[in-house]
């Protein structure tokens, strides 16, 4: 599927209005909490106030006695899952059984005739706990003698003799490290720490569940993947997947955070027990306490460099904790850490560590921002020590097509060098650093992937096109998919309508994650369109009485393939569609497949910041994002991903963190003290899209969504560190931390 030459596009690459635009600017769009049902009950979850405890008893009698209470569920209402340890963890996270592993862990839930009654009833449930020692810090949890979060979770790859909290170990890389370091003129080893951060989507988890006595269920929910939600809910409730239909509402942000179930199995269990539809909406407080933040990490990074800026060896140890549950995020970090560089000797070590924190869930390029922050900071410090230009050093060491990456894969065509060179040529980089400000630069990377995908495309008799796809539209994907269908069929964008099908009407689609949708769903849409086109050409051929092979598709119409095929005027899609009942019935295309061949994604960010030397407060003055997007299908939304991701990364860098008390209780479970960037914090975010076609996609599409959150952590660290003349090794770089560095204690 390699590209012969740069393709000329008619619709792809334009910026039409998104199809859900009017609904979303008029308040008509229906999100998770906007759906109601006749006879609906309201639910409330009771959560653990303790970071770690054994549940001795749960007394629901007072709550049950409250008028209006219709059902109460606890862990005992969920049949234990055998065999699938990962799904068992998801179940235990949705509702605790014998132990609570973090403050905010769900222990019971109530459904009642009003939210007020449900809230009151939840407070009447008496849970007796035996409080156990807890640990929330990743380094403390790894230390010998640390309180054990959960016994028996250690996997075969963990060396003997470590804390029982260490559950998983991985190692990546190649080459002779010792020889590499021996060639270096300067070697530094630094320790970094990053706080847990939350996706911070503005829409809390919300769903409406309706189970009937015959064992069938309906679930409406805001999700990044309703097909996975069906799988998970069915497993957790012990019902068959086909008994449950899941419909994705509009989704008010996810960023990875809505790739896992929390509220849904609980709402379904309550509905089953009460025999009524149940609405379960989390409060913001519950979102912070109960749903997945990112990992919290402790990272050691060692890099050797020659005087002229060649990296001779790199080594990083990544200690990640995703709460009281195993996660694969340390692998992603360990693979991504050095991906931007062409290295002869590189080694990364991943460790997963259990702590008494909520179960981690993906947040935009999960694991990569933290790992790459450590590497990009260390490189920048070396550049300072060796008096080298940080952009030139990155250009000198950049990975390119043919480079054996630090995770073993040899890269195909990709755009890191293009992004670095664009940065070097850009007015931002070439402007003088403003008085009192400082500048930082860093690279970022994400793998991107494809995955299970199923799309149906139907041609209406009036020549319009209906695309059914199975991935919730989280940031304009309906527009991109419609554009690709329009391009492939040669019909105007306005003639295409893309809808998100429910689980009952389309085959399985993986979550909207991994930057996969524009790539994978787009590819499936193109293939479905090609199938429909083939059918239409066959019908045109039959009408004309020529061979189907003698027809081709040009500009939205079937035309004879050459002078020998006969002389017929083009037959448009609308003309063929109008005659479809006479020519064999409805015209459709379908594609179900596993999309592979997503192209890797790289970005480079530049920031100018001013640090108030008396208070340690950072202001971002100017910010520019360079990224290889492959072909940008709808450039507005590509820019939007780059800007939004960058600002989330800036939030991680400056102020966002989970703050714990010494009792393991989260102290800032709200937008007041969990400080995501507000409009007045930010400058405009300039974007430069580079379009290095992905050879694995007919239009050259890569994913774009995840990479932009990666570089800001080090970009700002490098800018601030240069600005204050002291290196910073911990995120967030909140004013107290920066001031402390400035004052040198």
């Amino acid at each position: 599927m390699a590209l012969d030459q740069p393709r000329k596009f008619k619709y792809v690459g334009t910026r039409p209005a998104r199809p859900d635009g009017i609904d979303k600017v008029t308040g008509r769009a229906q999100y998770g909490n906007d759906i109601t049902a006749p006879g609906m009950l309201w639910a409330k979850v009771l959560r653990s106030p303790h970071a770690h405890a054994r549940i001795l008893s749960i007394d629901t009698s007072a709550a049950e006695a409250l008028p209006g209470v219709r059902a109460i569920v606890t862990g005992a209402d969920f049949p234990p899952i055998e065999g699938d340890a990962g799904m068992r963890d998801v179940q235990l996270n949705c509702m605790a059984t014998t132990h609570v592993w973090y403050e905010g862990h769900a222990v019971a839930a109530v459904a009642a005739t009003s939210q007020a009654i449900a809230n009151k009833a939840a407070r009447l449930i008496k849970v007796e706990y035996e409080i156990l020692p807890h640990v929330t810090d990743v380094d403390a949890a790894m230390a010998p003698g640390a309180p054990v979060v959960r016994e028996g979770q250690t996997m075969e790859n963990v060396p003997a003799g470590m804390s029982a909290n260490v559950t998983y170990h991985s190692e990546f890389g190649h080459g002779d490290l010792a020889a590499g370091f021996a060639r270096a003129d300067k070697i530094i080893e630094r320790n970094f720490r990053t706080a847990a951060t939350h996706q911070g989507y503005i829409e809390p988890q919300a769903c409406l569940a309706s189970m009937t006595a015959d064992g069938r269920g309906e679930l409406w929910t805001c999700t990044q993947g309703h097909f996975y939600f069906r799988t998970a809910c069915a497993a957790i409730l012990g019902i068959e997947a086909s008994a449950l239909r899941v419909t994705a509402s509009e989704i008010g942000g996810g960023f990875g955070g809505k790739t896992q179930v929390w509220a849904e199995p609980v709402a379904l269990a309550l509905s089953k027990k009460a025999g009524k539809p149940v609405k379960l909406t989390m409060t913001r407080d519950e979102v912070f306490r109960g749903t997945g933040p990112t990992v919290t990490t402790s990272i050691t990074c060692k890099i050797g460099m020659t005087k002229d800026g060649r990296i001779t060896a790199g080594e990083a140890t990544l200690r990640y904790s995703g709460g009281a549950f195993h996660t694969g995020t340390c692998d992603m970090g360990a693979m991504a850490a050095f991906a931007s560089y062409d290295l002869d000797a590189v080694r990364t070590y991943g460790w997963n560590v259990l702590t008494n924190r909520p179960k981690e869930i993906s947040y935009r390029a999960p694991g990569a921002p933290q790992a790459i922050y450590a590497v990009e900071s260390t490189i920048d410090e070396l550049c300072q020590l060796l008096n080298l230009d940080p952009l030139d050093v990155r250009i000198k060491n950049a990975a390119k097509a043919g480079t054996k990456s630090s995770y073993g894969v040899v890269f195909e065509e990709m755009g890191l060098l293009a992004a670095l060179k664009a940065a070097k040529a850009h007015p931002h980089w070439n402007s003088p650093v403003p008085e009192g400000a400082s500048r930082g630069v860093a690279c970022g990377f994400w793998f991107n992937f494809g995955g299970n995908t199923c799309v149906s495309l139907n041609i209406g008799t009036d020549g319009t096109v209906a695309v059914s796809e199975g991935n919730p539209d989280i940031g304009g994907s309906r527009a991109s998919i419609s554009l690709m269908a329009a391009e492939e069929l040669g019909v105007p964008y306005e003639k295409v309508r893309t809808v998100i099908a429910d689980t009952g009407t389309l085959g399985y689609n993986d979550n909207t994650d991994g930057s996969r949708v524009t790539f994978a769903v787009g590819l499936a849409t193109i293939r479905a369109a090609q199938e429909a086109k083939k059918d239409m050409m066959r019908r045109a051929a039959a009408i004309w009485g020529i061979d189907a092979e003698a027809v081709e598709w040009v500009d939205g119409a079937a035309v004879p393939a050459g002078p020998n095929a006969g002389k017929f005027p083009p037959m448009t899609l609308a003309e063929i569609a109008a005659q479809s009942f006479q020519t064999g019935g409805p015209i459709a295309g379908h594609c179900d497949f596993q999309a592979d061949g997503a192209g890797v994604s790289f970005g480079v960010h530049i920031a100018d910041v001013a640090v108030d030397q008396e208070t340690g407060k950072t202001k971002v003055l100017r910010y520019t994002v360079f990224q290889d997007a492959g072909k940008a299908v709808h450039p507005d939304y590509v820019e939007g991903q780059m800007q939004g991701g960058a600002v989330q990364g800036i939030g991680m860098a400056l102020n966002e963190e989970y703050i714990y008390s010494d009792k393991g209780v989260i102290l800032n479970p709200g937008f007041l003290d969990y400080r995501i960037p507000v409009a007045s914090d930010m400058p405009m975010i300039e974007t430069v899209i580079l379009e290095i076609p992905n050879p694995g996609h007919p239009y050259g599409v890569r994913g774009v969504g995840e990479t932009p959150i990666v570089p800001p952590l080090a970009t700002l660290t490098n800018a601030i560190s240069r600005g204050i003349g002291k290196r910073l090794y911990e995120l967030p770089m909140s004013p107290p931390r920066v001031l402390k560095a400035i004052k040198g204690h």
């Binding site: 208070t615 102290l667 937008f671 003290d673 507000v678 909140s734 004013p735 001031l739 402390k740």
Partner: protein, 284 residues
């Protein structure tokens, strides 16, 4: 829970005094509703004072300004005379919450919420504002610094509530300023703050100075800075003394918003910066 909307101060006071359970006064409600939502308070009675006569008005009184207890902070910034006379008080009040919160929140509410970090309180204290309190025994006037007695606690007796706050008349060449430190540019609670109110003589020499600090003690802290500032033109030496005095007076705690050392240092920085702004305004 019941809700009452009395039409006279006497009726409001009577309702508050007669409630056997927990009664709460509501003006803008921006603190009260957050507390209700979190289950922090479960009042039996809410008394809405927005509809009392004059509650939503700013009136001129003896050259000063009487600000009704239900005047939303946004309205303070819309009163040009008030902004000209008390720019520091107005900027402090306009820093509380978002534009949306500005449409509801009041300085009387901010005072009665009795948070050590309330933005308008240091400015009101430095301004020498006086609260008018109505209660079962009639009206009394109380200097604002005597209202909060500790985090979440006030000196108001049962049945008492604030009906208005008086900002006194201003002599010529006088101005105030307020600065707070927050990690973002908006939407945060003050980590620490400083209000400075200066009166200059005809030659630009500081004649009187009041300084109040926020979020560095259990209540707003007024610091006597006469020795540092009075008689100076606010040169660097005077500002240094002021910053030192502010830092020395601060008795902060470490919490999720800041550390003792951070607050102690930064409150001095803010006092210095606020004093410079107030001086420039007064000298104009």
């Amino acid at each position: 829970m019941r809700y009452a909307r009395p039409e006279t101060p006497a009726e409001a006071s009577r309702l508050l005094a007669a409630e056997p359970g927990l009664a709460r006064v509501m003006a803008g409600g921006t603190d009260l509703l957050v507390q209700l939502k979190s289950g922090l308070v479960e009042p039996d009675l809410i008394v809405d004072i927005k509809h009392l006569p004059g509650a939503a008005m700013i009136t001129r009184e003896a050259g000063g300004f009487r600000i009704g207890a239900a005047v939303p902070n946004q309205a303070l910034g819309e009163d040009r005379d008030l902004v000209a006379a008390w720019p520091g008080v107005v900027e402090a009040a306009s820093l509380i919450g978002s534009t949306q919160v500005q449409g509801r929140a009041t300085i009387a509410g901010n005072l009665c919420n009795a948070s050590p970090a309330g933005d308008s309180v240091p400015a009101l204290v430095a301004a020498g504002a006086v609260a008018r309190v109505t209660g079962p025994n009639g009206e009394r006037d109380v200097p604002v610094q005597q209202i909060p007695t500790g985090p979440g606690k006030t000196s108001l007796a049962r049945g008492e509530f604030i009906t208005s706050i008086l900002l006194p008349a201003r002599p010529a060449r006088a101005a105030d300023a307020y600065l707070r430190f927050i990690p973002r540019t908006e939407m945060d609670i003050a980590v620490c703050s400083a209000a400075v109110n200066l009166e200059l003589d005809g030659k630009g020499v500081v004649a009187r100075a009041r300084v109040a600090l926020g979020a560095v003690a259990a209540t707003v802290l007024e610091v006597d800075v006469s020795a540092a500032l009075v008689g100076t033109r606010l040169d660097d030496a005077a500002l240094d003394k002021l910053a030192k005095a502010a830092s020395a007076a601060a008795k902060p705690i470490s919490d999720k918003r800041g550390t003792v050392e951070f607050r102690t240092h930064v409150v001095g920085v803010l006092a210095r910066r606020a004093a410079r702004i107030a001086y420039e305004r007064a000298a104009r």
